[in-house]
Each structure stands twice: as C-alpha cells, then as structure tokens.
Amino acid sequence: MSINVSGLVDWQRGHIDRRIFWDPAIYEQELERVFARSWLFVAHESQIEEPGAFVTTYMAQDNVIVARASDRSIKVFLNSCPHRGNRVCFADSGQGRQFTCNYHGWAFGLDGALKRMPKMALYKATPGFRMEDWGLKRARVESYKGLVFATFDEEAPSLGDWLGDFRWYLDAVLDVEEGGTEFLPGGATRSVMNCNWKFPADNFVGDIYHALWTHLGGSEPTLGRHGGVIVENERSWQVSVNGHGWEFNDSFLGNAATMGDREMLRYMKSRQEAITARLGEFRAKMWGSVASANIFPNFSFLPGYFTFRTFQPKGPTKTEIHAWTLVPKNMPDDIKDRFRRGSMRTFSPSGLLEMDDGENWEHSTAANAGFVTRNQRLCYAMAPEGELDDDSLPGTVTLGQLSDANQRLFYKKWAEMMNAETWQDIPLEKPAAPAEAAE
C-alpha cells in the first residue's frame, strides 16, 4: 500500500505537511519512488581518469562502486556480493583490476561481472549454475559534461530528458572554459547531520532568504558587518526545470567575494570577457554570483564557491553530506589552490558559513517528534513576483531570487514521483532548444 501525498503537499499555496520530514513510511516510499527512479550523481569523470580507477559512493542507501573499465567506459554496480551479501569494496577510492569479496573470495571485474572464486570446480559441477547470473547488479550510466549519473530504473527516461533545459543553465558552471572541469583532489569531505535530507536540498534549490539572517556572523569577518552581500529581487531570478532549481543574481562573483581572497577575484574578473564570449552575457554572470542550486533530488552546488555536494539520505532524520570542489581544468594551479582553501574554509564542516546551517536543519527535523508539532504545516508561501512570461529563458522562471518558487516546484516534483505508479504518471518538461537568451 503506497501513501498518497497529495494531502501533504499543497505546492500552489506553499503549504507543506511536516510529517514528510519525519514519517518512516514516507521515507521508505522515497527510497523506492524518488531515489530508485531518479538519475543520481555518483562521480565526476576526473575522479576515475584511468582504467581500473574506482570510487565507492551511495545512491540513496545503496552503496555502489563506480569504476573505469578497461574500455574506458564508466560502470556503476552495487557494492554487495550476491553470494551472502557482504560489502565487496571497503576503500573510498583506488586503483585495481578486480574487486574481491572478503567473505569467500568471489572476484568481480571492473564491469561488475563475476570472474572467479576459490574452488571454482565446485560451481562448475553444480547443475544450472552460470557465472553470468551472479555478477554485481549494474546500473545505467550517463554523463553530462563531466558529471556522472546513474539509475537502476530501466524505465527511467534518458539523463538528457531528466535534466532537460536545466543543462543550459548547468553550462554556466560546467562549460565556462575550454577543456572541461575536474574535482579537486583528496576525496569527498563527509559529515553527518541529524536532519531530513529535504531540508538541505530545499535550502539549496531556492532559499537565499536564509543567508541574510543565518549567515550574518559567517560573512561578517570578510564582508563587514551585516555581510555586505547584496540580495535583492532586482536583477535576480529563480529557474526550475523538472524539480531542479537555481536561484541567482547577475553579480558574476558575489558568492566568491565572501571567501575574502582578492587574488581569486582578480583572476575571475580577468576571465569574464572570455566567459561572456563563450556563454553569452546572461549565463556568464551566473558563474560565481550570489546563487545556489539543486539537481533533483539531492545533488546541490554553489556557484562561486563551487562546492558540489550530495545530501545522502540515511534514514528519515539522518543525512550525510558528501562534498567536492569543482574547477575548470585549465584554471592556473595556484588559483585552483585558492578555491580549494576558499571552499573548504566556507563550505565544509569547519566552514565559516556551513557551520551556521546544520543546527537549523537538525532542529527543523527534531521538532517533529512532537505529535502536535508535526501535525502543523510549514510555510513555503513567499511569492512577491510573478512568473516570467516570455520565452527568452528556458524552464519556469520567476523574477527575484527572494521567493519560495523553486522550493514549491521541488515539492511539486517530489509529490508527483511519490504518487506515481509508473513513469507514465511523471511529467517531464520538453526540452526546447533555447535561443542565446537575454543578451
């Protein structure tokens, strides 16, 4: 019996029932209907450059291996042995030719196929046993400009259809320079929060509003009292496509400025002309501006700091943050290092800004232990400006970054997926090849 969530999410008015952040049955349904259906971010291609390179990560609570096979293709498969179920690979990253399970020694190739095991003759003598039936379960894999996504759902549309016109906006961080992007070295920065995964995801999809209050202290040392960050509904936008969302202004380096590194800002300015020539004026200004974004359901990033992170669900009230820093490959080494330190010092568990966030999400979650409390609804109603009604920008565009528009559309998509029996019931917006918009 599935739960119909229509009564819990009134996305038009922005009334959200608090039980969706608490109820274990709703969480279980999310694992099945949201996470097991969505294209989930698993790695950046730069993390597994050479054949044999691998990382392990999570797709919701399913642990997976992401490996570069000998033919250079990227394979994603469950990190759980089909023999008795043990975890196969215990390293976060590495290089090898095969993955050998610790329990009885079954060995799997870089594509997840079962290759050999101790006393193989016993299986050879077993009627009906076929090696090809017992590999590690493989996911579908597709990439967009360096970002690798996977899904175990055979019915899911292509990654291109899933991202739709959001790709046009993504290019403002993924395609600013010739040569593509990379993750800075050293693996993911990981930490645990006792919150429901949707609070950080909805924060990144469209809540710049919190920055004006939550992050006052964090931005004070670099930007002066009261942050100095300019957030207005003039010259700023929210865009949403298929539940993915990005709120931003046109400040080009507004987010980056809070890292307080003048050399870094000088470098960014020196690239503005070339980036404008590449992406057009409108998208170029998104590169490092005051902004945040989330790819549905749980893959977020911050332009300017270039922290990319997954909010991995670990239960209805527990979330693990895995974060990396993405830079253009051809950025000078010294500037990359400035971004490494800058993103770490703002958005990591020791970050001057991230340290402000966690307690909010933990207590927004924990309060729902109260029966009366969780039977209240939350207010996602802010809508000071209307939808932009012209075709110059793809997706659903709202003027002004201070609004709850993207968050309502995030919950609209969430409710659609939670209620849908099949992909037939999940509408996706048709990609329109956009004109070089809003020049």
């Binding site: 976060d92 590495g94 070295p185 050293g186 645990v192 202290g217 964090g218 040392p221 990591s348």
Partner: protein, 206 residues
C-alpha cells in the same frame, strides 16, 4: 579581535600568513615527525605539559584572544581529510594539496575568531560547552634550538542545547617554539580518525 572592534572590519590581508610554498613545507615537516629526535629534558617536558593544560583551558573558557597570542606568526594549522584506502594504494595518504578540514595560517584563524566575536553566530548562542583533554604527551628535540616536536592525544568533548553532543578524539603533532619564557605553537597537525565526520560540524579548535 574583541566584539567592540567588530563594527570596523579588520583588514585581514595584513595579518600574518604563509604562501603556498611555505604551507607545503610546513605540511611536509609535520608529516615527517616520527619521534626520532632525542627526548626533551624532564623540565622541558613539564613546561610543555603545563602549556597544554593552559591552552586547553583558554579554549574551554573562550579566552580566544589569549589563545590567539599563543600562535606563532608562521603557524600552519592542518586537519587533513582521512580516506579509506587499501594498504597497497601507493598514493601518499596525506597531502597538502588535498581537500582538508582545516588548512590555516594565523590570519585564517583570526577570521574565525572575528566570526565568533561578531555576536551574530546564532549557532554559538547560547554558547557550546567544551572540555578539552590532552594526554600521551611526548616531546623530542629537533635540529633547531628551542623548537620541539610534540606528539599528544586529545578528547574534545562538546555539548550544546540539550542532547547535542560530540566527542572528537584524535592525535596532534605540534611544532612548539620556546621564545624566552613563552611557548608558541608554530605548527599543528590534527590527525582525526573519522573518515566521515560523525557530527554536523567542527565548530571547535584543537
């Protein structure tokens, strides 16, 4: 650094810092510390242990300005990320070029203290209560007179609100410098055993 000064933004670019080359060199020096030097004299070891007790108390009681004064101008303060890797993996397990939890110079610490002094950090108001325990102290002489390589272990317990607590346990490797009757922290490598930080943040000093 005081709250009163917060209305005029300090120019942190004038604070003591290290360039990348110096940070890499400092990281290499900390990584090379294996307790190979001659053990420090009993008197010096006692001085160092007393220094650590004082340092921990200054942090517990939020005397951050006084703690800041214990830091050398050429401080490198580093908590690298820990990854789970196979023993056969031949990449260096810790590198100054990798992402880290802390990768700081004295100026960077000043920015952190400026944040706390702003009185605008809601997650530290009401304040967090800390107890910082230091033990297993071993001190060794280095090639430089007055500089000591010091290994220790720590428990950084914190509690805030009602049930919000974390026990952050780890090891430190310090480069301590005796200057007259003062001791300064010139380098600190914080080896934290969790590959996934099992709490929400590292709002603490080590």
């Amino acid at each position: 650094m005081s709250g009163a000064a917060a209305s005029a933004k300090p120019d942190y670019s004038t604070y003591p810092t290290l360039d990348r080359k110096a940070r890499r060199a400092a990281a290499a020096a900390l990584l090379a510390m294996e307790g190979g030097g001659a053990p420090a004299s009993a008197a010096d070891l006692a001085r160092i242990e007393a220094f650590y007790r004082m340092e921990a108390r200054l942090l517990d009681e939020e005397f951050y300005d006084r703690w800041y004064d214990l830091l050398a101008d050429d401080l490198f303060y580093w908590m690298p990320l820990r990854e789970n890797r196979f023993r056969r993996d031949n990449r260096p397990s810790l590198s100054a070029d990798n992402m880290a939890m802390f990768d700081e110079t004295k100026a960077d610490i000043a920015v952190r203290l400026g944040r706390l002094a702003s009185n605008l950090v809601w997650t530290e108001d009401p304040p967090t209560r800390h107890v910082y325990l230091i033990s297993n102290v071993e001190a060794f002489e280095t090639g430089t007179t007055g500089e000591y390589e010091v290994h220790s272990a720590f428990v950084q317990y914190r509690n805030r609100s009602e049930h919000d607590e974390a026990q952050l346990v780890g090891r430190r490797r310090d480069l301590l410098r005796m200057v007259g009757d003062r001791i300064e922290v010139a380098g600190r490598l914080i080896l934290f055993p969790q590959s996934v930080l099992l709490t929400k943040n590292l709002s603490a000093f080590f």
